[in-house]
Symmetry: C2
Subunit: 194 residues, 2 copies
């Protein structure tokens, strides 16, 4: 790790999903690009650290507080979509199907990893319930996301709020033959009249 | 591309093999790591651009000129191993089988991509032939690397230098059944007495 190239390979290898071979390939690519391009990349890395932080209301990533979504008066203020991580917001925004606000839990319940309700941003959610008609639980479709959704549903339902969960089912463009039985069972349970 | 996060995702997407999804994942990871870790990565990128350049003798990547390999008097000064790219040197060094010097062509002949002999660092190689007994052609085992090796062999052989080529054959740990016929044919042609 004594020379600049090894140091860069080492730092790149620390990124998730980047092994030593990919890190080496990326480092050699960076050696080849113009100084200007390398500077822009380095500056972009520093810029996100300097300028971005979590919205004090929804915990989403933002450079203003409260964030643009929380401040947007055009959005439906009666709905909150609860997600695990800040980067779960963009995929939902891209659907253009949802126009309410968000709340980021900053994780999911996980007894194995020692993450209980007190580690999640749940109290902030409870403080935001005035005037809310519906809370959509958009945690991940895995064991932890399901546990988190059930926990929140139990917490929210007594407050006279409609609590919904994203639908489980076959992916569009999928194939019944290749859909696992758990998903297919959920797909059947969730069947709708057409 | 207006906000810092999109800018970082955009810059990361320009790296080879990094698509928009991986770039987004990496950007969110960088948002999560400590400021210090992000700064070290950014500094490492800038450092390779500032401190590293091509050795004036062998074209390898170095922070001193001539590079450590060219300057190492312990190495066999009668052999030059010719490679296409600077990053081909390290894999050969790791074998610990070769103790001579290197010459990086900075590419390979490719009529399709308009790369002729004049685009490669061949003249520098010819200037280094005094006292050289063997030139090992370690260009890639593909069409371009082969064409480059043949071109160099024709150029070097009249100069009374032994010109050799890396062996083609089955990868160690491979399986005859899964070896393609071209490789297997080369493996047969190159068979050796044991």
């Amino acid at each position: 790790m004594s020379d600049p190239l090894s140091r860069l390979v080492g730092e790149l290898s620390r990124l998730p999903g980047i092994g030593p071979k990919t890190a080496t390939r990326l480092a050699h690519h960076l050696l080849k690009v113009s100084d200007a391009d390398a500077k822009v990349l380095a500056a972009s890395i520093l810029e996100v650290k300097e300028k971005l932080f979590h919205c004090s209301r929804c915990n989403g990533i933002t450079d203003i507080d409260p964030c643009a979504i929380c401040m947007d008066e055009q959005r439906d203020a009666t709905r909150i979509c609860v997600v695990e991580e800040p980067f779960n917001i963009q995929p939902i925004e891209r659907t253009r199907e949802y126009h309410g606000r968000y709340h980021v839990l900053m994780g999911a319940l996980s007894p194995q990893r020692g993450i209980g309700p007190e580690q999640l941003r749940i109290s902030g959610l409870l403080e935001r319930l005035d005037g809310i008609d519906e809370v959509i639980l958009a945690t991940n479709p895995d064991v932890e996301g399901e546990a988190t959704a059930l926990y929140l549903a139990r917490l929210l339902k007594p407050r006279n709020i409609e609590v919904t969960r994203l639908a489980f089912g076959m992916p569009v463009g999928g194939d019944i033959e290749y859909t696992d039985e758990v998903t297919l069972a959920r797909s059947l349970t969730g069947r709708r009249a057409i």
